[in-house]
């Protein structure tokens, strides 16, 4: 074989060795044994307050009780986090777990089979889980349905990673923000690179029906151009009102929520009026858009950390850098205003734009641009769980919910950047990162 690759493989193999021993097939079935976590500080995501000296009891992957001075059953496994702040496992509502890290040019997708895409994406989910994100809403993959199989592989325990809720494919116009663009028009793409492309209300409905039949969890639609797509204009709308209404109607019919990528004001407003459940990015959100979002209860998923990462140093194509610069300053002001005026915010990073595992950095930007630390933590817990429709299962350390529990040193309410160094990760009662 190739010698340098072997050397690299050896070093990576050693480096990843211990982790991989856990990360492939390492997850265990929920345990009948009781685990008791002693929490020095505990963030009550529902109330938005910090409690002291709490005990959490876990059994069969779920939280059975939470409170101060709870009796710890004999024979329980005790995890002592009394020197830490304990929080619910976090939710990232805008991830892209499929795709090799460090390769931001979508045209390189054409060089890989879907199997290669799968293999090269394997290191991604463990990094996100280890950063404290026990649930993700994965909003798109260029090779349709690879996210569905990643979700299922994690659920089986074959791959270590967060609980995934997936879109399956981008519902996008020809040449749209979610399409693979930039090549000559006579190049024929494989089925899974244009799976949900649609150009009428009826085609839009058919795509939703198709995705429902493939077991996705929600629908991702793109109602404006994008920054990270060749030949795309973030100032242009994509899809007419009629198309958006049809897509949302069909999705809601199947019990699916709809996430809409949208940069410019017109595209944002059209999507909100059509009834989408969240606006992703929302860069040029205007006052009218804010009012509409408040009226409809639409969430904003801001993905602020991307601006730090879209750079030449990280290998982004020149046209993407150009698209990005124009957006940045305005979008910061618009976000600040949305926060001030009470638009509901859910935490989302657009990871792989920034490296996997840096998801916690988003908190810093949210707080810098006007959210309180408490509000930012709620956006990544109860707010996100609400948008996901999973409030019964995740988002707070509450009896009956999944035992998704993390911990950090220090007080995130005093210094939100401690969220970038998660020390303890438990998902469904299984510990993935120890104290």
């Amino acid at each position: 074989m190739i010698n340098f690759r072997r050397r690299l493989g050896i070093r990576l193999g050693v480096l990843l060795g211990v982790l991989l021993g856990v990360q492939l097939g390492g997850a265990q079935a929920p345990s009948a044994q009781v685990t008791a976590i002693k929490a020095g500080r505990l963030f009550d995501a529902v109330a938005g307050t910090m409690l002291a000296n709490q005990v959490i009891l876990v059994k069969d992957g779920r939280i059975t009780a939470v409170g101060a001075g709870l009796a710890i059953p004999k024979g329980a496994k005790v995890i002592d986090l009394s020197a830490m702040t304990v929080l619910p496992g976090l939710l990232d509502m805008h991830t892209h777990l499929i795709g090799p890290p460090n390769d931001p040019d979508p045209l390189h997708e054409l060089e890989r089979t879907s199997a290669e895409e799968v293999m090269r994406s394997l290191p991604n989910p463990p990094k996100v889980l280890m950063a404290g994100f026990t649930t993700v809403r994965d909003v798109g993959t260029y090779r349709a349905l690879t996210d569905v199989s990643m979700r299922d592989a994690i659920a089986r325990g074959d791959v270590v990673g967060p609980r995934m809720f997936v879109a399956g494919a981008y519902v996008t116009i020809t040449g749209g923000a979610g399409a693979v663009t930039g090549f000559s028009p006579d190049v024929i793409l494989p089925w899974d690179m244009h799976y949900a492309e649609a150009n009428s209300p009826w085609e839009g409905r058919q795509r939703v029906r198709m995705l429902a039949g493939q077991g996705v969890d929600f629908i991702k639609v793109l109602s404006t151009g994008a920054v990270l797509t060749h030949n795309s204009n973030a100032n242009a709308r994509e899809f007419t009102d009629e198309e958006l209404v049809a897509i949302v109607d069909e999705a809601h019919n199947f019990g699916f929520k709809v996430a809409a990528h949208a940069h410019n004001a017109a595209g944002i407003k059209a999507a909100v009026k059509a009834g989408v459940n969240s606006i992703e990015h929302g860069s040029y959100l205007d006052e009218e858009g804010i009012q509409l979002m408040k009226q409809h209860g639409t969430y904003l998923v801001p993905t602020l950390e991307t601006t730090e990462c879209i750079s030449a140093a990280n290998g982004y194509p020149a046209d993407f850098l150009e698209h990005s610069d124009r957006l940045n300053e305005l979008s910061i002001e618009n976000f600040k205003r949305a926060v001030r005026e009470g638009v509901k915010i859910a935490f989302g990073t657009d990871i792989s734009v920034c490296p996997f595992g840096t998801n916690g950095r988003e908190f810093y930007w949210m707080v810098k641009y006007g959210m309180t630390p408490t509000a930012s933590l709620q956006a990544a817990t109860v707010g996100a769980a609400d948008l996901l429709g999973q409030t019964a299962n995740v988002g707070s350390i509450t009896q009956g919910k999944f035992a998704d529990i993390i911990a950090v040193k220090g007080d995130p309410l005093a210094d939100i950047t401690v969220m970038e160094k998660v020390q303890f990760v438990m998902k469904a009662g299984v510990v993935y990162k120890g104290p």
Binding site: G13, L24, T113
Partner: protein
């Protein structure tokens, strides 16, 4: 799946220090010298940077070396599996038609655990001879080489070169069903189409060419007593493959197909169920290897999910064993191969017992899985024996496999490229 999780839970994950400057010293109580076919005692193996630096009795061990004490074990080279199918859920699902229910991505995810399974069983190198979805094996090989997940060093075929409706085709569907590109990637029906398929695979960076020259047992509507491909087609494939420096492995059950393949110059015959004196003499003369896969029959017979028509095909265990013995007696070169998805994932090492039953000595059986296999693979300079300059692929078992070959079913220690994956 659960049994794989249990294996992972039991295996201790010990790292032999940083791959890099530190030296690892292995003390071997008994040592199988695969090249000479002898058993030595009390040897020391020095490893650095994933390469064996030195082997010998009473070697000086550097002061800061990490010492692995296997003085109560029998140490031997990491084994080579020459007939592997890592891309397959065969154990739980032997119905090929179920492939049609899965995307390539799903197939990839369910295959990844197989890589670790075989590595933990002592197989540090595999020659993977086929996947229904073309090129998933290439992706696995590269991912393992990049350290993305643990597994053996893989040498892959990429796709089956097979006739329409052949042993390596996706059969059993109505003829008006259109199959995806990756399920027909290597199908060929003339010498020129066949050359084009070899060129296509060479361009996709495969390591060997796999052709099927007779029908199969585990394929719908396949007749293992019929030959597949003409002599002219097989010659063209072999010519084009050898042109690219690729060896050719030929699946063959009946003697007619096998003779065509041997005459055409293939490098190995896989299975070799029906072998007569003539073909055995030809193989001996041309230096063609036999890769027997004897153990499949017991697992085929006992798989609860096996399609009924496959069971009918498989009444040939005794004939297969007789052919194997004939080949061994005639001095045909044997390389170890099990068709691992069928049996070996769950029951590793059984093939050794059958090879000994069929007339090989235990040492010869071990050599078939080490030096001989390395020779067939064209990798003798890198694997197959514990020798200075070769990759540090080293395994160990308790007890003496020469006295009792069934001991090979329980490998205690696995090192690949100087990294320890198992150390009980």
């Amino acid at each position: 799946m659960k049994s794989i999780l249990r294996i992972v839970a039991c295996a201790t994950f010990v790292l032999a220090g940083r791959a890099g400057a530190q030296v690892t010293a292995i003390k071997a109580g008994r040592f199988i010298d695969a090249e000479s076919g002898t058993v030595l005692t009390d040897q020391v193996i020095l490893v650095k940077d994933g390469i064996i630096q030195a082997v010998g009795p009473k070697l000086a061990i550097p002061k800061d070396a990490k010492v692995i004490d296997l003085s109560k074990e029998t140490v031997m080279p990491g084994l080579l599996e020459m007939h592997s199918h890592l891309v397959a859920p065969w154990t739980t699902d032997p119905e090929p038609l179920h492939e049609l229910e899965r995307t390539a991505a799903m197939e990839s995810y369910i295959s990844i655990p197989n890589a670790k399974t075989v590595l933990m069983e002592g197989f540090t190198t595999v020659r993977d001879v086929g996947t229904y979805r073309a090129l998933i094996d290439v992706a696995m090989r590269d991912a393992i080489a990049q350290g993305i997940f643990p597994g053996p060093r893989m040498f892959v075929a990429g796709a089956y070169i097979t006739i329409t409706g052949g042993a390596g085709a996706m059969t059993g569907t109505s003829p008006d069903i259109t199959l995806p590109w990756d399920m027909t990637f290597g199908v060929a029906n003339s010498p020129w189409e066949a050359r084009q398929k070899v060129r296509l695979l060479a361009g996709q960076n495969v390591n060997l060419i796999k052709i099927l020259v007779t029908g199969a047992i585990l394929t719908h509507n396949s007749n293992h007593l019929a030959r597949e491909f003409t002599f002219e087609e097989i010659s063209a494939i072999v010519d084009e493959a050898h042109n690219f420096g690729l060896k050719v492995a030929a699946h063959g059950h009946n003697v007619n197909g096998i003779k065509n393949a041997v005459r055409a110059g293939v490098n190995s015959i896989e299975h070799g169920t029906f072998l007569d004196d003539e073909v055995v003499a030809m193989m001996r003369e041309k230096g063609t290897y036999l890769v027997p896969t004897l153990e499949v029959h017991s697992c085929i017979q006992t798989n609860a999910n096996l399609p009924k028509d496959f069971l009918m095909h498989d009444s040939i265990a005794d004939i297969h064993m007789a052919s194997f013995s004939r080949a061994v007696k005639a001095g045909v070169k044997i390389a170890y191969g099990t068709d691992n998805a069928v049996c070996s994932f769950r029951f590793p090492g059984r093939e050794f017992e059958l090879m000994v039953k069929g007339g090989m000595t235990p040492m010869q059986a071990l050599q078939a899985a080490t030096v001989a296999a390395a020779d067939l693979l064209g990798q003798s300079s890198h694997v197959g024996s514990i020798k200075a300059g070769k990759y540090a692929d080293i395994i160990a078992v308790s007890g003496d496999p020469i006295k009792d070959i069934s001991i090979m079913q329980n490998v205690d220690f696995v090192m690949k490229d100087g990294v320890v994956y198992k150390n009980k």
